[in-house]
């Protein structure tokens, strides 16, 4: 499949799709990479810290190009496109408030286990694993992805053993709950992530805690340079045609609202769809430490 994708990426004529296909290729490659990488046991917490730290430098590049969950959501979007169903664009005020939700979710996921760990020694073991201070990714569960919450809790019953929850929020939610709440939470998770990304592009990403590291770090005086990989707009070339705002899967409006210069946003996952679709040469650029590695071009030359 990888080879197939690579071939498509190289041969595709449609200029407005090239980067998207390349990204899918990288995403699938990453998935396979992660699968094999994590067959060596690795502590989840380390993974999280690495991602959060990398985000400070690379922006939400992880989200756009590596995260397997992103890949699944993109796949679901592709199913939608094939069925010729239009997406639902969230109203801007709702989208902006979801961005704020990220911080709350982050706190909710991490804080309670830490507190309870110290407060309730009886559950130390459980919380520890919930906190993933110990514990690892299981390759199989990475592959299962969003379906994980469906399968893992009943893994033992169904005869799958050795499965453990890998996605942090899933783990939190499942471990806290019991009985009927397991099912409710599972349902909620699937609804929130898988189902809704059918109609709303990359729904989970809009309130996923990844990326808040940029948001937090930008408030510190010495870290204004973060991230070093980001979008940049040339003011004079922009005609405010609004294509970038419309095609963005995360509905990031800063790329349109800002007049020029580096686009400051902690939401952009650098999928480069905007730069890919911008019809004015050299207007939107993706910069890494000041060097442009992709810029918008006259895609009419299909």
């Amino acid at each position: 499949m990888l080879a197939g994708l690579l071939i498509i990426t190289i041969w595709i004529r449609d200029e407005t799709r090239k980067i998207s296909y390349l990204r899918t290729f990288v995403q699938v490659a990453s998935l396979i990479g992660i699968f094999y990488l994590f067959s060596l046991t690795l502590w989840l917490s380390v993974v999280l810290i690495v991602i959060f730290a990398a985000t400070i430098f690379l922006g939400r590049f992880f989200c756009g190009w590596i995260c397997p969950f992103g890949l699944y959501m993109d796949f679901i979007s592709q199913v939608r496109k094939t069925l010729r169903i239009g997406y639902w664009a969230l109203p801007e005020w709702l989208n902006k408030n979801l961005h704020r939700l990220r911080y709350i979710i982050f706190v909710v996921i991490l804080l309670p286990p830490i507190l309870l760990f110290f407060l309730d020694p009886l559950y130390q073991q459980k919380w520890a694993s919930a906190l993933f201070l110990i514990g690892s990714f299981t390759p199989l569960t990475i592959l299962l992805g969003p379906l994980e919450p469906l399968i893992v809790p009943w893994g033992e019953t169904l005869g799958f053993s050795g499965l453990s929850l890998s996605y942090p929020y899933v783990r939190q939610v499942i471990v806290y709950s019991s009985g009927i709440f397991v099912s409710i939470n599972v349902f909620l998770l699937i609804a929130l992530t898988v189902a809704s990304s059918f109609l709303v592009r990359r729904f989970w990403c809009r309130f996923c805690p990844t990326g808040i590291s940029i948001g937090i770090v930008n408030h510190l005086p010495h870290f204004k340079w973060a991230p070093i990989m980001h979008l940049n707009k040339v003011e004079e070339k922009c005609t405010k045609c609004g294509i970038c705002k419309r095609v963005c899967p995360l509905q990031v409006t800063e790329v349109y609202d800002q007049k020029g210069g580096d686009i400051a946003t902690s939401m952009c996952m650098l999928c480069l769809r905007c730069a890919e679709m911008c019809p004015y040469e050299g207007c939107l650029k993706a910069n890494f430490n000041g060097k442009t590695f992709f810029k918008s071009r006259n895609w009419l030359k299909k």
Partner: protein, 436 residues
């Protein structure tokens, strides 16, 4: 006026117009003796009473609908998708303006007066053949023009909001486009399906591509005189899109060859002029381009910011997912948000237009700008102050020129344009270190 008088007037003006058209082309040929051969096609199409009139008549007889439009806000893609014929009907004839004076005061925009006059005497074949006319009331003149024409033609008003980057404006505009889609479907009896719309959008995208190629060639070197390029750009407003695209591509092939062989249409040291302002319609309102490119010292119109020229095809429709709703959104957004018309305003004063001008000046290496308006146009005239301020800061000479739909002021304008060209030429020579 009696029927006989109207007919006489029409015939007189038509004959005069045919003469003007052939004179214009003769003048363009004289300036540029080695004009590409493919320009012959555009010269033929330039005859508004010729081949294209016959073609549209035939198509109409076969049952196709002709939808005229007075302004670039009309969604041409929707018209094409409904298998109808889009044609721009703003008047470029000087003489009918005098007829229009009988109905509206002489202070009114000459384009509006001329369009009224043209309708009165039935001069324009396209206007006469239109089954309906889309009229976006972008300015006072246009608003009332629709009313005046509605006595004789079916008018569809397409309101554009005055502020284009508010979210509520876009919502309103999208509703207008949806309503227009229904109207077009109703008139033509053709349902605009996603498939048809896609075909229409792709057709126009190809036209945009051809146009961009032409622009790219003009950026590099003076292989084509501005008047020729302006005629090519404007022809698409009445020509068949597919054929126009093919011919323009052929023209670009030839021009790209000439770039390589360095076969210039005029000297590369000629001052490169950009004209910006109110639309300049063929055939009569070619006054200023003629004067610029026939002046001593000669100027080259390297680019323009006119909705009768470079603005027609510059912005393509950018479709994300080829679903019906996305395509319609894309079409709507292209017409509203990419436009630099001064009928819009924003907190920063139509900065889109200023950005466009600045970008052009850099990309096309423009030496001077002629800010052209027809007398009575408040929108363009009032924007001059801001444009001048920015261009002064950039040290780009800009000259304000306003004129009427009349031939009598050619002498006056000639002296001014020649003085401006002299000034530009001196600056160009000084900056290159050659003696002016």
């Amino acid at each position: 006026m009696t029927q006989k008088e109207i007919e006489n007037l029409r015939n007189t003006i038509k004959t005069a117009s045919l003469k003007v058209i052939s004179e214009n082309i003769a003048r363009m040929k004289k300036t540029s003796p080695n004009r590409p051969e493919i320009m012959q096609y555009f010269d033929e199409m330039a005859n508004l009473f010729g081949q294209r009139e016959k073609e549209i008549k035939e198509l109409q007889d076969q049952g196709k609908k002709v939808i005229g439009y007075l302004c670039m806000f009309a969604p041409v893609e929707l018209i094409l998708a409904a298998d109808a014929i889009p044609v721009r009907v703003g008047s470029g004839w000087y003489d009918p303006a005098k007829q229009g004076d009988k109905i509206v005061p002489v202070e009114v925009c000459p384009i509006v007066r001329s369009t009224i006059g043209t309708k009165m005497i039935g001069l324009s074949p396209f206007l006469e053949m239109s089954d309906v006319i889309i009229n976006p009331p972008t300015c006072d003149g246009m608003t009332k023009l629709g009313e005046i024409l509605s006595d004789q033609k079916s008018i569809w008003t397409l309101s554009a909001p005055r502020i284009k980057d508010d979210p509520q404006s876009l919502i309103f505009w999208k509703e207008e486009i949806k309503a227009m889609k229904k109207k077009i479907e109703g008139l033509t009896g053709v349902k605009i399906t996603a498939k048809r719309l896609r075909a229409a959008i792709e057709l126009r995208q190809k036209a945009s591509l051809a146009f961009r190629r032409l622009q790219d060639v003009r950026k590099i070197s003076p292989v084509i005189m501005g008047r020729d390029a302006m005629l090519v750009s404007q022809t698409i407003t009445w020509d068949d899109t597919q054929r126009w695209t093919e011919k323009t591509m052929m023209l670009c092939d030839e021009l790209e060859r000439r770039v390589k062989q360095e076969e210039w249409a005029c000297s590369p040291s000629n001052p490169r002029v950009m004209i910006t302002g109110t639309p300049m319609f063929w055939p009569d309102n070619w006054k200023i381009p003629h004067l610029v490119e026939e002046a001593k010292p000669q100027g080259l119109i390297a680019a323009d910011e006119l909705c009768s020229g470079d603005r027609i095809l510059y912005d393509p429709v950018g479709v994300d997912e080829w679903t019906g709703s996305d395509m319609l959104s894309a079409v709507a957004e292209k017409y509203l948000m990419a436009s630099t018309c001064p009928c819009f305003t924003s907190a920063d004063g139509n900065e889109d237009r200023i950005n466009w001008l600045l970008d052009r000046i850099k990309e096309f290496k423009i030496d001077g700008v002629i800010y052209y308006t027809v007398r009575g146009c408040m929108l363009y005239a009032m924007e001059y102050a801001r444009v001048k301020r920015i261009l002064d800061k950039m040290n780009v000479p800009i000259y304000y020129l306003d004129t009427e739909y009349t031939r009598e002021d050619v002498g006056q304008i000639k002296t001014r344009i020649e003085a401006f060209m002299e000034m530009l030429d001196t600056r160009v020579q000084l900056s290159r270190g050659t003696q002016p």
